[in-house]
């Protein structure tokens, strides 16, 4: 069993096609499940802790725990959708094979995150600020996602129908994974915060946050309605009096 698990680890990186075939073939998928889950927890944990080096302290532990939780939770939520989309578009897969394929893809993505962790650490160490850091992390997720979807594509078939299935699945994955991670934030931690919360209160949504961080990284700060009301100002003043830094109250 142990040697099989190690072999799958190797195949996740070198031979995604063989992993996809293993998932499709069915049979004993336990080594695949164990290796993929191990890679997922390890990779996401390392990357989460690395993200937290921007804040340090207890945030390292929290992020190292929460990012694997977010990824495993997302996998649980999206596998039924993947199964249904593939079946609806004429590529019915066995449910266990589908779980194996999805888990293997997530594990592969997590291994890519491990490889990108030193870059993240170095960037924060060299003084990368908060909002560009969020975007750099998002770019790392995107890269890991491409590696993961490559494996999924090999599983459902590399043709037009397979591309449609994987594209639709990617849309569901992005929406679900983004919101799951948003609920479990912060992962980087607010630089100015005196203490580190395990969870932030529920507010807004993942997409609002992406939009806000993108604008903020280019120096465009939106005046929130709540803040404006509190200060007795219009939410959209004709001539904004310079950048507002209320976005620094957010944490990702």
């Amino acid at each position: 069993m142990n040697s099989q698990v190690l072999q799958v680890f190797d195949e996740l990186l070198r031979s995604p096609r063989r992993v996809a075939e293993r998932s499709r073939a069915g049979g004993d998928l336990r080594p695949l499940f164990v290796a993929s889950l191990g890679a997922l927890v390890l990779g996401a944990g390392v990357f989460g802790a690395t993200l937290a080096t921007s804040r340090g302290g207890l945030q390292l532990l929290y992020s190292g725990l929460k990012l694997p939780l977010a990824m495993v939770g997302t996998m649980l939520l999206v596998v039924p959708a993947f199964h249904a989309i593939a079946a609806g578009l004429g590529r019915p897969l066995s449910f266990s094979g589908m779980i194996g394929l999805t888990l293997a893809a997530a594990g592969r993505g997590a291994l890519v995150l491990i490889a990108l962790s030193p870059l993240i650490w170095l960037s924060f160490d060299r003084g990368l600020s908060y909002h560009p850091g969020v975007l750099l992390a998002a770019a790392c997720y995107a890269l890991a996602g491409v590696a993961a979807l490559d494996l999924v594509l090999k599983g459902v078939g590399f043709d037009a129908r397979g591309l449609v299935i994987v594209s639709l699945f990617a849309g569901v994955l992005l929406a679900t994974g983004g919101q799951t991670a948003w609920m479990l934030r912060p992962f980087l931690g607010r630089p100015s915060a005196p203490s580190v919360p395990f969870f932030r209160p529920r507010e807004s949504s993942f997409w609002d946050a992406v939009q806000q961080s993108s604008l903020s990284s280019f120096g465009v700060y939106r005046v929130t309605r709540a803040l404006s009301s509190a200060e007795g100002r219009s939410p959209n003043p004709p001539n904004p009096p310079g950048p507002r830094l209320e976005n620094s109250d957010e944490s990702r």
């Binding site: 999206v78 039924p80 199964h83 249904a84 589908m98 807004s204 949504s205």
Partner: protein, 198 residues
């Protein structure tokens, strides 16, 4: 679009998805059971949406999500059969029942697959507009897959026809597709979450 890739269903027992979307025509009872299963699965998506408000909204959304598909089955499929028969297409009531059941079951199965994600998003997204957008996206995805199943199955039945007759059938099929989209949208837009319910 077809390829030699083996389908990944284990040899012993096909999965629920494979059975619901199988192109094999079965008896009327089995087809009606497949249709019922599809509508029941669609209700799971409605339940997930209803979790945003809870209470009676659970029932409202469950019924509404299924009703959109049921409306297409009840109002659209007989009309399509009659129109295709008028141009002498080789369709039978049994074959149309099978096509309709498979298409609606596919859409229902996709909605059920999306239900866990929809529940998370519906419950945790604060903005009513964003929640409505997510709901619309799920319904559009499932409806598109159902419609794809339906049109591709009907077109497969028309392969032997002369080109002029096949063209007439394709025009009818296109018109039916527009009607089905409008009808499903009309029913689904009664869902409270699409009307901005918090």
């Amino acid at each position: 679009m077809e390829q030699s890739l083996p389908t990944i269903v284990s040899a012993s027992q096909p999965s629920l998805g494979a059975r619901l979307t199988s192109p094999d025509t079965q008896g009327a009872t089995q087809e009606l059971a497949r249709l019922g299963a599809g509508l029941g699965l669609a209700a799971l998506y409605g339940l997930a949406l209803g979790a945003r408000s809870g209470g009676m909204a659970l029932v409202q959304h469950a019924l509404g999500a299924s009703a959109g598909l049921a409306a297409v089955g009840v109002l659209g499929m007989p009309a399509l059969f009659v129109l295709l028969a008028l141009v002498d297409a080789p369709v039978s009531p049994g074959a149309m029942l099978s096509v309709g059941a498979r298409s609606l079951a596919s859409a229902g199965f996709v909605l059920a697959g999306l239900a866990p994600s929809a529940a998370l998003l519906a419950v945790t997204i604060e903005s009513p507009d964003a929640a409505a957008f997510v709901t619309r996206a799920g319904l559009t995805l499932a409806g598109s897959i159902g419609l794809y199943q339906l049109t591709s199955s009907v077109r497969a039945m028309l392969e032997e026809l002369p080109s002029e007759q096949r063209l007439k059938c394709n025009v009818l099929l296109f018109g039916f597709s527009l009607f089905a989209i409008m009808l499903a949208a009309r029913v689904w837009y009664t869902l409270p979450i699409l009307k901005g319910a918090a």
